[in-house]
Symmetry: C2
């Protein structure tokens, strides 16, 4: 069975492909780069699950394939769970990871060490052509530091130290991260439900 993963992120595709190879080997995963003229899905919902479902429904609509999509971000305790769904555009729609990280550090400048808890959250959805839908969540808890460390990963990884680690999620390997990450957890749970 061919299943679309509604992303152009090669890292996500490879990660899900490895997970599915064990959990559901009959599935052949394809990414958006294999689909011609695929339109961007605006992420207009206020929840991760809402955005994941938007993207997965669009995939079914445009390809007829069962479609998996995810939405994820960093929920900071001292910011009441924000940046949340706005993680990728926290410093503004024209900004990048560096600007998002700098803004977050500045906003948290006066927040003491004991109150810098946060979690990465991922919602992963699959929508089938017959209309069935499944959404699952994965989380990775940790703390937000006071400056960037490490060159792996992307987004807020250089600021985030997962609980139980003394390195940021930009300092651990992709394999270590996938084993504990919000997206790894969500993708594994989704794979077990396919």
């Amino acid at each position: 069975m061919r299943v679309l993963l509604a992303t152009r992120n090669a890292g996500k595709i490879e990660e899900l492909r490895q997970i599915l190879a064990e959990a559901a080997p009959e599935i052949e995963l394809v990414g958006l780069d294999a689909v011609a003229d695929y339109p961007e899905t605006p992420e207009t919902e206020l929840t991760f699950a809402g955005n994941a479902l938007l993207k997965a429904r669009d995939g079914v609509k445009h390809t007829g394939l069962a479609t998996i999509a995810d939405d994820s971000g960093l929920a900071v305790d001292a910011l009441n769970g924000m940046p949340g769904v706005l993680s990728a555009r926290w410093a503004g729609s024209e900004k990048d990871d560096a600007a998002n990280n700098a803004l977050l550090l500045d906003q948290l400048a006066d927040v003491p060490d004991g109150l810098r808890g946060a979690k990465f959250v991922c919602a992963a959805a699959i929508v089938w052509p017959d209309g069935r839908e499944l959404v699952v969540h994965g989380e990775m808890r940790g703390t937000v530091g006071r400056g960037p460390k490490g060159a792996n990963g992307f987004g807020y990884d250089p600021l985030f130290t997962p609980d139980g680690f003394d390195r940021t999620s930009a300092e651990i390997s992709a394999a270590e991260k996938n084993a504990i990450s919000h997206r790894g957890k969500a993708f594994r749970e989704l794979a077990s439900g396919i």
Copy 2:
């Protein structure tokens, strides 16, 4: 009785002075500009009440006078109540009202009209030299627009239309605003409790 209002904002002092003239005419209100060498109180708490109390306790400590202080900000529904206590430094500690407004508008760019609710919140505290403390809250609900309008007020006023109005809180007069504002409500309740 002399009471300190722990602020250098002349508008706040005048507003509270007018309220106290009716509610507690025996009180003579003084601002921080009347106190020599008064140190800045860092607003390090994660709640409005916490910051108001920090500032009021500092006033008692440095002057021996009963001290009133307030902390206020804008709590946006779609941002889980943020910018909240970070309202004045949302775009960073070196930024100003214009940068804060621009960032908020950018973060809310994809939030539809029906989900742009928000409230201004004020916590006002009084601390007496004998250690008694009182904290009250006032709120003003409304919606966040898509661009600045009006030249009155400060902070997020140009973006915020109070419920029941068709003008932003930067387009209504100071008297109109004080009658409905979060700070006006909190100061009146505090005055009734003195």
